[in-house]
Symmetry: C2
DNA sequence: TAGTGGTCTAGACCACCGG
DNA sequence: CGGTGGTCTAGACCACTAA
């Protein structure tokens, strides 16, 4: 059953191989769109067994530089479109300017076309019983009927983010646009402002963790890749939480930016 | 070489086994402090090969419920002390109250003792040539000499966070406390305010990604576990960045909270 | 030293993808 | 159909930890 060289090396062979492949991608030897050599070819090239190459490729996938599909192979991803998600996207001027929050993102990448690649798919808009944690945030009893708006966002054709907004029924019942796929210029926040609500602040909480199997398939991620879970409360001057947004996204190539005023309190 | 049952199942065996173990932990069958049965014992119990158990345990580790060490085994972690890291920690009142920012954290967990478990170890304080990205943020040429303050934070005895602050030399040269391990009540921000600087805002950028091998060992993480990389600019009213803080932490059980004022601009 | 996890091998069968 | 990745096996040797 083979010579069994053993694990005596300082740095394991599979890590060496993974680093070598990652370097080749970063150095441009393997360009975006190229296929990484197949595992069986790597087995020959490096003179190791399939299991070792397999482990190496797990590392390469974790680097986020490659997209692996089953019967096909591992393709080097396009120049990763680093997205900047800034707290500035909630500036009132953006809403008045007709931009929804998610369109107020900007791109760090030089080719600032990334905004054009954004697509939204609405999966569900309608009544729903508020889940536990959401109800807490909205200040309503668990199980209360709320309006849910469940969307899936695409970037370059691949799903990168699911977002569900929950709004108390009495808040939304007289705003018909909130029940339609396109809530109009400025997004749902602009409609809420039209209806007389004034926002005081938005409170976002973020956690990062490895994707579960279900999430990995929903977002077309390599299993175990990190995801960021974001929960946002939209709070009015009246102190009421009129929306909770529950967002899950691939941590992959996204940068969050928050500007914290050094308020003299 | 065995019967090679193959991968024909809808859900792979190693995922089933991993889920089963995770359920046992969540259900309390395996309590905090308990050792998960050894891999060889799991091989017998489930009647699968070592490689399959190995893959299952990788999944279990990724769930963050378990801490695996080499010659020892996998121990179920204590009730994860969920830490809340709020943007409120930069409130001026905290500085004037004598609290450094990192002590202004609060605990979500019921036993609010987690603050007492915090320890800091200073690894280096002194001059350093500013790294590329840091120099950019400070608005100085790369390679300029700056003051670096490199710390390692512990929680319950285990390292959970490394942080390095970079400050321009001309800013710090007349503030001796910034060269000492303990900068005094309110931390370095209070000392900068004492010296006449007034903060306008703090700008934090966050990214999440899998830990590199080096980072995993530095923070005592399971390899591949997600980490959060945080960079913060401290900006004065004069528009100057007087500090850049570079922080790396286990994404494990930390929650970031940001309050975004809905400024009417 | 006994037991644990970590690495590696040389094979097998399967499911998915393209032509 | 042939090639690709995904799962699994039954072993081997090694490094770490604790008694």
């Amino acid at each position: 059953m083979g010579t069994a060289v053993g694990g005596g090396r300082a740095v394991p062979r599979y890590v060496q191989i993974a680093d070598e492949i990652i370097q080749q991608i970063r150095a441009g030897v393997l360009k975006p769109g190229d296929l990484v050599p197949s595992e069986s070819e790597l087995v020959e090239r490096y003179g190791v067994s399939g299991g070792t190459i397999r482990k190496a490729m797990v590392e390469v996938r974790a680097s986020g530089l490659v997209d692996t599909r089953h019967g096909k192979g591992s393709m080097v991803k396009d120049r990763p479109p680093v997205r900047l998600r800034s707290s500035d996207r909630f500036r009132a001027s953006h809403r008045r300017g007709g931009k929804a929050a998610y369109l107020a993102e900007s791109a760090l990448a030089e080719s600032a076309q990334s905004g054009a690649m954004a697509k939204v798919s609405v999966l569900y808009i309608g009544p729903m019983e508020a889940p536990e944690g959401i109800a807490d945030r909205l200040g309503v009893p668990a199980g209360t009927q709320v309006l849910a708006r469940w969307r899936l966002y695409f970037r370059n054709g691949v799903p990168v983010e699911t977002a569900t907004s929950y709004l108390p029924w009495d808040v939304v019942k007289d705003i018909p646009q909130l029940f339609s796929e396109d809530p109009g210029p400025g997004g749902i926040y602009a409609r809420l402002e039209d209806d007389g609500h004034t926002f005081a602040e938005f409170v976002e909480t973020l956690t990062a963790r490895p994707a579960s199997k279900a999430e990995a398939s929903e977002l077309a991620l390599s299993p175990g890749a990190p995801v960021v879970h974001l929960l946002r409360n939209a709070v009015t001057e009246a102190g009421r939480v009129v929306e909770v947004c529950d967002t899950l996204m691939a941590a992959d190539q996204i940068v969050f930016e928050y500007r914290i005023p050094a308020a003299a309190d």
